[in-house]
Subunit: 300 residues, 2 copies
DNA sequence: CTGAGTCATTCTCAGAACGAGAAGAACGTA
DNA sequence: TACGTTCTTCTCGTTCTGAGAATGACTCAG
């Protein structure tokens, strides 16, 4: 074949360094539940630029040696100290790419962001070139910018001030009042680069995704109660839910959860009967979906 | 500030070519409606590799000079000959990134895919290094592979064989039977690189997105009838819809469409009353959403 | 041990949304 | 003019939803 030969010769002569370089990184928005609140994994940058500031865990993709998914899993593992088994329980999906030429002062860097849902993980351990790592409450990080493409509209907050009881053994967590921007938490609110926006986009994706997929179970252990599951939704959406209706809906969606037949103990609880235990079912989509409250208000 | 000075010195000494290079491209899945059927924009590759084969319009991101969004808009404009005004009516959003090291034989190329919804556009004109460009019916391109991350499950097809009447002046278009893979259309079905999968992912995104956003109107002109809108949903979902229920739903969703008060003529119609004309409303989300039929069947 | 408070689970009820079918009127074509 | 097509509006029975409440199991302070 002439064409085959032509392609071969072309590839032999091809010089990958003939182009202006663009670096490719992956950054991970890893979300987990701690003390009933949603937290995001952050690292303190050890090197320049933005040395000493918070940033998302991430790093350069190894050219020619790994896919984007593999790079994201590797960075997440490095930063959390997770072994392969624990990592298998983490849901990891691509969130989107960020590529404004000025987003990194060093050079043009395109970052492919990933979103991770993890059950309660051990404390973060700084890996790689990070000077430290920690789980930061998302309530302290919320002010969001404008989207490069679709998402990242101002993130809706809880509708009212109040408290709700978390799931098994969790303390009540205060909601924020609408309009009040979250006060900068301990450790500051600003992330390096455009990571503020990436976190906001990841949060919005998470809020949308648990509406129509069973991924909320990825925040929980092997077995859980309906209340545990409700606590996930309340933490991610930042709004309290009607316990009775939630219970009915979860059990009515085919394949969302399946009963283990067992009943949990409830250490640290403030009373109430022992709840039944469930495990994640085999559904990949929830039908009907669990829609966020106050959907109409967010329509325009 | 010491830290400030440190960062400055670091940047001055920074060498962007010290890394193994990864190239960054954008590829656009541009969808439009032609003769009542959904079509995707494709170009015939002029250069190596895959010379002469169909591929998505796209190209390298200009390092340091444009964002990903800008690069996607530029590539789309080059390939369609659209001016800025026409381009403004096209919805363009990021779809996802594809970065397996072996997806391009030249080197490690990360491609950021974009999805475009366009009203009926003029015939494509080959721009840049393309040898040709055309709108291909998506029915001929459907066999999909496995996803790198979340999406790209086997795409659901229309449920039954039959025909439906398109919108204003459109001819009926046959549905596909379930399970039957679409026959390779004229010009072949295989795209270069992993563009088959990107098209499949874009199609699935489009199918999902018109459920809960008013983006179906992006396929239509300034004004349209409810039947035109229904034809969009039928073409994208590949299934006929109940005309009466669709009508009721569209008008009941706040901000989806607003009446112009006028009534359209209907050239080429096969009869029936003149339909009222509407324009897109100001809603950004549809509530309640228009869900695809047979949702339960797709759940597991 | 008792009383108060917490919480899982199940019901009720009214309103909203849905799919299927059909009616009535407007219009093109044979 | 007769007929087929299509827009538009209704009806009907079913399902889904949010709000509230009842029941009973359990913890904790006194």
């Amino acid at each position: 074949m002439d064409a085959r030969q032509q392609e071969k010769e072309f590839l032999a002569a091809y010089d990958p360094r003939a182009f202006d370089p663009i670096a490719v990184t992956v950054d991970v928005v890893a979300l987990t539940l701690r003390e009933g609140g949603l937290h995001v994994l952050a690292v303190r940058r050890g090197g320049q630029p933005f040395a000493g500031e918070w940033a998302l865990p991430g790093g350069f993709v190894r050219a020619g040696r790994e896919s984007l998914d593999e790079a994201a899993a590797r960075e997440l593992a490095e930063e959390t100290g997770l072994d392969a088994a624990a990592l298998g329980r983490v849901h990891l999906e691509q969130l989107g790419s960020y590529g404004r030429p000025d987003r990194d002062p060093r050079m043009h860097v395109v970052s492919v962001a990933y979103l991770a849902f993890a059950p309660h993980l051990p404390d973060a351990t700084a890996g790689g070139d990070a000077a430290g790592a920690d789980w930061l409450p998302v309530q302290a990080i919320l002010p969001a910018g404008q989207p490069e493409t679709g998402p990242s509209r101002p993130i809706e907050q809880g509708r009212r001030t109040g408290t709700y009881g978390g799931g098994t053994g969790r303390r009540p967590v205060p909601f924020e009042a609408p309009g009040e921007p979250a006060a900068p938490g301990p450790g500051g609110h600003g992330f390096a680069f455009d990571h503020d926006r990436i976190v906001a986009d990841g949060l919005e994706r998470a809020r949308a995704k648990i509406e129509y997929t069973p991924l909320a179970t990825a925040f929980l252990g092997e077995t859980f109660t309906i209340s545990d599951l409700r606590a996930v939704y309340e933490a991610v959406w930042g709004a309290p839910l009607h316990a009775g209706n939630f219970h009915r809906k979860v059990l009515s969606v085919p394949g969302f959860v399946e009963s283990t037949g067992e009943t949990g103990s409830r250490p640290g609880s403030r009373g109430g009967p022992r709840a039944r235990l469930y495990r994640a079912g085999d559904a990949r989509l929830l039908h009907p979906a669990l829609l966020r409250p106050d959907r109409e208000a967010a329509v325009r």
